[in-house]
């Protein structure tokens, strides 16, 4: 009896992950959560979770197997990248020329904002007033004298 219990305990200790894997196989949702971030090169622009081809079905089966083995999402994605290249990822990994994808859009946005702010400042400035025209000089001696006397009386 005691020997039987010991055998069972040793068995559970040696094969715990196997027991867990059999009891909790990965669900379709868990598989698709990873599959939607992957693109099979055969079916360009169709995410793996909705791709109907045999190749994509094989890929989803592979994801299921890796999940059952306890692999993480990052490990599974890395496996597919090593096998089939960067292009299987929905978003390119940030290295080399791929940085352009991440840097150019925000840089273009900032340049646009700077141009817009500059334009708005220019619109807010008060319009340039025309210079006051100087009083015409009075050439007529009579009128000059009238003006002079008016100023003296004022």
């Amino acid at each position: 009896m005691l020997l039987g219990v010991l055998v069972v305990l040793v068995g559970v200790a040696i094969f715990p992950s196997r027991a867990v894997a059999q009891e909790n196989p990965p669900t379709d949702d868990e598989v698709n959560a990873i599959a939607k971030g992957l693109y099979c090169p055969v079916c360009e622009n169709v995410p793996l979770d909705v791709c109907p081809t045999l190749a994509c079905k094989q890929w989803r089966d592979t994801i299921r197997e890796k999940l059952a083995l306890g692999w993480t999402k990052a490990q599974i994605e890395q496996y597919f990248v090593e096998q089939y290249g960067d292009r299987v990822l929905a978003a390119p990994p940030p290295h080399g020329l791929n940085w352009a994808v991440y840097l150019i859009p925000p840089a273009a946005f900032l340049v646009g904002v700077a141009v817009l702010v500059g334009a708005m400042r220019a619109w807010r400035r008060p319009p340039i007033q025309p210079r006051q025209t100087e009083q015409p000089t009075i050439e007529d001696p009579y009128l000059r004298r009238v003006e002079q006397e008016l100023q003296e009386r004022a």
């Binding site: 090169p41 055969v42 190749a55 094989q58 890929w59 089966d61 096998q83 089939y84 290249g85």
Partner: protein, 160 residues
């Protein structure tokens, strides 16, 4: 912004170029086979090399699988090398496919799809027959219809 547009344009231009053409120098590559050995096309210079792109999920590939093996058995001792490049596939399925069709020439996965990108393949099956001078002598887009068609390409590459 102009630089990005230039990059996109260059990529589109390259994508529309189509497969490497007859007479052009064949891309060199190293194939790591399913059993772990490595075959370099640089080491096969002076021989005719038949490079076949296939996949286990590819139904048209099955039409030519036995004929390719027959051609390999016919020509393997006559200075003709065969290489199978498994495109976007799962290893277990690929090995089952090779077993099912009794294919014995070196086969391996197209890791990172680098080889198919170098040849600018449009799909599978595609076969490139490289002459002893390292240039593409014949291209078969789609499955070979018969053993005779494969033999004709090999003879063309040998200059007969």
């Amino acid at each position: 912004m102009l630089g990005l547009l230039g990059l996109v344009g260059f990529g589109q231009l390259r994508a529309q170029q189509g497969p490497v053409g007859i007479g052009s120098r064949a891309p060199e590559f190293i194939l790591t086979t399913f059993d772990g050995s490595q075959v370099s096309t640089a080491d096969l210079k002076g021989q005719v090399v038949v490079v076949n792109f296939w996949a286990s999920w590819c139904k048209p590939c099955e039409q030519e699988a036995r004929e390719l093996e027959l051609a390999y058995q016919t020509y393997k001792d006559q200075g003709v090398a065969f290489l199978g490049v498994d495109y976007v596939d799962i290893e277990r399925e690929a090995l089952a496919y090779l077993d099912r069709f009794g294919i014995s020439y070196p086969n391996g996965p197209d890791l990172g799809t680098r080889i198919s990108q170098a040849f600018r393949t449009q799909g599978v099956p595609e076969t490139y027959v490289i002459g002893p001078d390292g240039r593409i002598a014949a291209v078969q887009i789609g499955p070979y219809p018969s053993f005779e068609a494969i033999a004709a390409h090999i003879e063309l590459a040998r200059g007969k």
